[in-house]
Structures are given as C-alpha cells and as structure tokens.
Symmetry: C2
Subunit: 403 residues, 2 copies
C-alpha cells in the first residue's frame, strides 16, 4: 500500500495517479509471472531441486517495476503486448537472480518478508540458482528471434550486454568506495555510480527493450533513455531516503541498514561533506568499521528500538529532546572495536539531521524527477494512452512512495 | 609437469603424446590469453577496480583445457584459427567466472597456488567480478556475427545456453544429494550428474563450438559430442581419484577435500554401496556432518599429517600396517559433534581402501576413455593433423595425468 500524503494542491489527482500506477504494476506483474512460468522449464526431475527455486523470489510480493516499464514503453509506442512479454519476463528473471546473489553477498536474513533463499536452502544452492537464472535468461532472448525478428532480437541482446557492463562497473565503483572507505567524493561521483548501477539496470534497459520491440527509431530511443536515466537517479535517492525514514509495514528492508553497511548514499555523502572536520573524522572512522554479524551484540538491540523511538517522534508522540533522552538510556550495546555500534549509528543519524542531508536529498530527487517529467512532456510522439499515463504518473510515484 | 609412469609397453610413445598435449595446451593458452585481453575492456576508470580482477584467474597457472579443445576441434575439421579464437576466449572467461563463484561457495583459501579472489578483495567484490565476467561473455559472442556470420554465431549462442542449463541441472543434482545426504545411489545416477556437470561444460561445449565454427554438419557434431561426453566422464572420475592419491606439488587442490565436503564421487559411492550395513550407517552419519570451518579444531591438524603418512607409504618408506599404527597415534582431533573429524575422514579412507573403490574407479575411468578413443577412431573425416593428434593423445593424458 502506498500512502500518499496529498500535500500538494491537487491531492486528488495525485491519488488517482497513484492508483493508476498501482493497478498498472499489478496487471504487468500478473502477465510477467505467467511469462516467467513459460520460460522456466518444468521438467519432473529438476523441478523441485532447481526450477521451483527460480520462481520463489518472483512469486513473492514484488513490484515488478522493470517489466511494467518495458511493457508500458512498448505499448505507448503502439507496439503489441505479445511481442514484449518475453523481454519483460527475462528482465524480471535477471533482476531476481541478482537479488539472490545480493542477499548472499550481504548475508541478508529476509527478502520480501520471507527468509532469503540461502537461509532456506543453503548458500551453495542459492548461488547456483542465481547463476542458473542468469544463464537461463539467454534462451528466451534467442527465442525472441522467432517472435520479433532477428534484427530486434539482436539489438535487445546488445542492450542486455550493455546493461550488464554498466551495472558491473557501477557496482565495482560502489564496492571499491566501501572497501577503501573513500568519502572524499562529490555529488558527481554519486550520480555517475547511480546512473550505472540503478538507472541502466532498473530504468534504461526496460524502456530501451520496450522501445526496440515497438520499432522506435534511434532519436526516440535516445529520448526514452534520457527520461529513464533521470528517473532512475530520482528513484535511487528516494530509496536512500526511505532507508532512513520509512516506518513499519510495507517497507520490508531494515531501517538504517545503509548506515550499518556504510553505503555511499547521497544523504551520507552530503553529511560527511558538510560536517565539521572533527565530526567528519569520527564519521569516517565509524564507517571504516565493519557491520557486526547477525546475533553479535550491538546490532540486534540497536535498530529496532531506535526505529520505534523515531516512529513515535514522527507520529508526534515523542519530542526530539525526549527521543534523544530515551536513546541515551539504551544500553551502549558494545561490539568489538572493529564493528559498528548502535551508538555510532545514532551519531551518524544525528549528524545527518543536523546537516539537513535528508532535505537536501529530497530536493535533489525532486529536481531529477521534474527533469524526467520535462523530457516526457517533450515527447509528443508518445501519444495519449493509459501506458503513457503510467510512465508519467510513475515520476511522482517514484519520489512520493513511502512518504 | 605431468609425470607419466610409462607402465604400459610403449612408454616412449606415451611420453611423446604427453609432450604433444602439453605443448598444444601451452600454445592454445597463449592464444587464448591474448584473446581474453582483447575481450576484457581496458578503460582507465574501471580497469584497476574491475577489469584487472577479471584477468587474475586466467593469468594464473591454468591449463586452459577448454579453449584448447575448441581450437583443436575447429582446426582438425579444417576451420581457421582466427575464426575460433573469440569462442575459445569466451569459454575460458566463463570457466574462470564459475571458478570465482565456486571458491566463494566453498570458502576456498587458494586457487592455482595463490590466494582466492574473495580472500584478497573480499566476497562482495569477488561475486561482482564473477557476475561481470559471465555478463561480459555475451558481447564477444554477439561480435562473433561479424567474424563467422549470423548463422554460426547464433548456433554458438544456443550451445552456450544449453551448456548453462545442463551445468545448472548437474550442479543442482549434486548439491541436492549433499544437502539431503543421499547415498542410496547407483553408478547411473553418478554418470548422469557428471555428464551434465562436467561433460557438457568442459568437453561437449568446447568441441561443439569448434565444430560449429568449422562448419561441421550435424552428424559429425553428434559424433564429436559423443566423444566429448565419454571423455568428460573419464576426466571427472580421474579428478576424483587424484583427490585421494595425488602428492605434493602440481596438484594444487586439497588432499581428500572431496571427503571433507562429502562430495558424491564414484569412489565414495562405490565404497558406501560395498560396505557392511554397520559401516554404511557410520559412513552416512559421518557424511551428514558439516565440514569444520577453517581454523576449527580437527581439520588443520588432520589432512596434512595424513597426507604425509600416505606419501611415505606410497614411496615405500612406510608399510600399510605402520601407517595405520601411526594414524592411530594422531590426536583424535575433536571438532564439535556436528562437524567431521580427521579420525572420521580416516575411517572413510580405510573403508575406500578395503572396498577397492579406487581400483574400481580407475577401471571405470579407463573404460570410458577407451570408448572415447573408439569414437574418435570411427571418425575418418577428422583427417590426420597435429590437432587430431592432440584430441587423440588427450584421451590417455586425461586418465594418466597425475599418476
């Protein structure tokens, strides 16, 4: 459930748009799941030990944003639904394969409110299922030739190869910053990383695939790509914001998990940059420490209580001063000297608050969303349809979700 | 260095063949590395944090068996070297990507006598480099179109998709057996698993790619595939044998590592099957236990001493009885109740010896090698050339390496 605050003048219009986005996502998701069921083999012998496991994550409560973008772009350009479903399904397969690997890398406990695959089946099986999904995605892209012709199918394969390269580079950049604890970075560095890591993978490739299937000429693909790049950046910044502001149900990720992992969000980069020299030194020293392992002291007692306090504060049931006082009474939650403590995460949150970094991120996200909107407005060849409406409404949806 | 014992009558011929195989492998490896250097981008910004890491494993002391098979098949059929190099390089890229992921899965410490990538760069970076290599392999296969034409390039992509599926199924089978501690299995089960896991990946796909590039008609591809399937099985069984018999330098893997991991080798399956009911119960109970983590008691003290004793015995410097007596004096090496101990691994080794399971495996490997040889002899269209000689000599090389 998306809760829109309707704090702009046409709150009703916003609500209608959000309902449209939700309905479009839900319908695309159903179509995509049916397609994935076709793509994944259902042979007797390997079904229960391999193929059923491939369907686990897609069948959980996923938004299926990528296939929806792909379908909407194709249809907004007048392309037929049947021609694009194979590509949409493949994108969702890729995405879920990467989620499985991400969960292994991060040692995550849950995904979409249920235990991660490596927790239920062990790490080796989870890595193999992820590899198998990446590999299996090749076949439907080859079968595409019969469906949409050789030329388009090849351009889609090229787009997938490009996506893979861009994502790997973006990911390499982020992992390198984490490993070397690099914080002497500008917004430009952040934008480059997010453009590669998030925009290419979640937005650019889906709209390119939709555009290619619909037979859009090159200049239109350039416009679509620009729209998607901007929206992807707005999306990632909003994702970073949610990690520090989202409450309760529906979020599904761990509050302040990005801080525990020392991820390079626009928010944290802004705070570190805006802090005094002393604060910056302390923040960087904290971020150098590793995340405590699950079950280690410090982490389990930390975030949940902190989260409750902040939720009480946001609901107006606790003052900022009262919250700070309560926080101070929380057990200091000692970890070893090499791992972050709850008190240290609280220091980072306080620093972020004092530097106004969340507001800064909100303004930046909003700015990119408006630029994306402007690009779409300048594309009259994307005639009026529910599909174009979805793309347009998605802009507000992306920056307002979870508020 | 391959040490051939020359225990058959024409020892000299065997030595010449082994030298041929080594020289052919070495030359193919140089050509393949040059090609991989072309495939992997060398951009400034991402070079040190991503692309150089992709080259790490290939540049280590690898045999590069897969590209050699691919090159030899193409050239034995009269195909040109330049046309097949791209496919050969891609195969080696895939292989090394899977090695990186395997090392993460198994928590391996070293690969080709140097620390594993996840030890030097951390697990997240290692997983990303592996994913990036898998993804990057798509581009050269698409570029292949310009090199060898659309039809062949597409058939190669199909072969890669099939390989991916077969390997994933074989791997799923093995991981399922390990997870459920399934030992009520026949040789047919083993052969199916190995055909999928090893033959498709290491032998069938390389010769198919070579054959496709050379323009071999379908019936010849069927013969080549049959040759490769049989040779792959002989190769895997020999690999299992080496894990329990190889000494010192040049092997590069951990002695009895398969037993610690509870892997389903033909040897162990034969021993479990041939044991008395009591022994079988004990063996299965041992195999149910997990491998102790590195540094845990039991493992570090175990295998090296055991290995030394067996080496002494083989070199005739220790009798079997003396070795058993010495083994009994080794500290019992306690782990927790859930993890295997050195004493338990010794029990399995003794069981394997008593059941003659290594001899059984040797005979089986030999039988498959001879069948592979017969298939090759029945292929007169593979005219005489150094390339055909390599394929032919490879059969003995596979079953005699490490002896």
């Amino acid at each position: 459930m998306v809760r829109l605050v309707g704090d702009n003048e046409d709150g009703d219009a916003t609500r209608v748009d959000a309902a449209l986005v939700e309905a479009y996502l839900a319908e695309s998701r159903e179509l995509t799941l049916a397609e994935i069921r076709n793509i994944v083999p259902r042979d007797g012998r390997y079904r229960s030990i391999l193929y059923d496991l491939m369907l686990e994550y897609p069948l959980r409560n996923a938004k299926a944003l990528r296939p929806a973008l792909c379908i909407a772009t194709c249809r907004a350009l007048g392309g037929p639904l049947e021609a694009v479903l194979r590509s949409a399904g493949t994108l969702e397969l890729y995405h879920n394969a990467f989620l499985i690997h991400d969960d292994v890398e991060d040692g995550s406990e849950s995904r979409r409110d249920r235990p991660t695959l490596h927790r239920t089946h062990g790490m080796p099986i989870a890595v193999n299922v992820g590899d198998a999904m990446l590999a299996l995605a090749l076949q439907p892209l080859l079968d595409n030739m019969r469906l949409i012709g050789m030329g388009k199918a090849l351009r889609i394969l090229q787009a997938i190869a490009r996506m893979a390269r861009e994502s790997a580079e973006g990911q390499a950049l982020e992992l390198h910053w984490i490993r070397t604890n690099e914080w002497d970075l500008t917004d430009t560095d952040y934008l480059r990383m997010v453009y590669k890591k998030t925009s290419w993978y979640t937005f650019i490739t889906p709209v390119l695939l939709g555009g290619i299937v619909a037979g859009a000429p090159a200049p239109r693909l350039v416009t679509l790509r620009r729209f998607a790049a901007l929206l992807g950046i707005a999306f990632q910044i909003q994702d970073d914001i949610l990690n520090l502001t989202a409450e309760g149900d529906g979020y599904g990720k761990e509050f302040a998990g990005d801080l525990w992992e020392g991820k390079h969000t626009l928010i944290l980069m802004h705070a570190v940059r805006s802090a005094t020299a002393t604060e910056r030194r302390r923040a960087v020293a904290i971020l150098r420490k590793r995340r405590p392992a699950a079950g280690e002291e410090g982490r389990p007692a930390g975030p949940p209580s902190l989260r409750l306090l902040r939720s009480l504060e946001r609901r107006g049931e606790l003052s900022a001063a009262g919250r700070r006082e309560l926080e101070a009474t929380l057990a200091p939650a000692e970890g070893d000297a090499d791992s972050k403590t709850a008190a240290e995460i609280r220091f980072l949150i306080t620093l972020i608050e004092r530097c106004g970094s969340i507001d800064y991120a909100r303004a930046t996200s909003e700015r990119f969303a408006r630029r994306a909107e402007a690009v779409l407005r300048g594309a009259p060849w994307l005639g009026p349809s529910v599909h174009r409406q979805f793309l347009s409404a998605l802009v507000d949806f992306v920056v307002q979700r979870g508020r």
